[in-house]
Amino acid sequence: MLLIPCPYCGERAESEFSYGGEAHIARPADPEKTSDADWADYLYTRTNTKGVYFERWMHAHGCRRWFNIARHTVSYDILAVYETGAPPPKFDTKSEV
């Protein structure tokens, strides 16, 4: 089980959290004018990175706040935790720790 450092409550077990998928995916500003291909891309296409992955988590059994995590998908190391809306920290996303 992951030990996730909630930015508000501190370190808690993974079972207290809900997973929210990849972070930093912006909804198209004008859905009416977005092509079907772009809309499908927004809905379904994810980077599925082998390396540092930016993802959303929600502390469902705790403070119920959303936040972002940078996690390495090979080692499962949590490399950064930052608030929703903040820019992602810089990593070499191809690196294999």
């Binding site: 508000y8 409550c9 501190g10 079972s15 207290e16 059994h61 403070c63 706040r65």
Partner: protein, 207 residues
């Protein structure tokens, strides 16, 4: 307005008062229900110093801003639940204690940004004490309850036996925990606790 004679705690049907005993020496865990507390959910931005000051003078103490901590007076207990969310708990059992607290807080906030919601009847409180209380909770909880990490006065929202709870360590001596559980999960959680506490020697005490 709640009619007193219609008011029932979520565990009333278990007849716990009829099973209540004095704690004997070999008992590892004592449990009781502490029903009818007033609970008011308070949302306010902690950087709104005017609102925080108004709430402090209404309550008689400052809201805890340190994560997972509580603050208390003789008539109210404040839980930190999130960066802009608190619970204000009143001892009850008068049905008016929750709504009255909500009015007090709403009056203090006046037209400042925030929200006050009376959620008294959503939960009941279970008190767990005794030398094995910590072992009992650790059976179903992912929290680190070691006194070094979770000292007296701490609170945390987590899950116990898959049920969402708010846990509060009210005294290191004993130790004595209180947990707040949703009304509809109260029976399930009580029966789970009774079963889990059997090996430690359980005494049910009166509320």
């Amino acid at each position: 307005m709640v009619e007193r004679y219609l008011r029932q705690s979520p565990l009333a049907h278990l007849g716990l008062d009829g099973r209540a005993q004095a704690v004997r020496g070999e008992s590892g865990v004592a449990m009781s229900e502490q029903p009818f507390r007033g609970i008011v959910n308070l949302r306010v931005q902690p950087d709104d110093s005017e609102a925080m000051a108004a709430l402090e003078s209404a309550l008689g103490f400052a809201l805890p801003v340190e994560p997972n901590t509580t603050a208390a007076s003789a008539t109210a207990l404040a839980f930190w639940l999130g960066p802009d969310e608190w619970w204000i708990v009143t001892p009850g059992p008068e049905p008016e204690s929750g709504p009255n607290m909500a009015v007090t807080l709403r009056t203090a906030l006046t037209d400042r940004r925030g929200a006050v919601t009376d959620v008294s009847d959503s939960r009941t409180c279970i008190r767990i004490s005794g030398p094995r209380a910590r072992d009992l909770l650790c059976k179903g909880m992912p929290l680190d309850l070691h006194p070094r990490v979770f000292p007296s006065g701490c609170c945390a929202q987590s899950h116990l036996a898959k049920t969402g709870v708010v846990l509060h360590l009210i005294a290191e001596d004993g130790p004595t925990f209180e947990l707040y559980v949703l009304r509809s999960f109260a029976e399930y959680l009580w029966l789970w606790l009774e079963d889990a506490a059997r090996e430690y020697g359980l005494t049910i005490t009166s509320s």
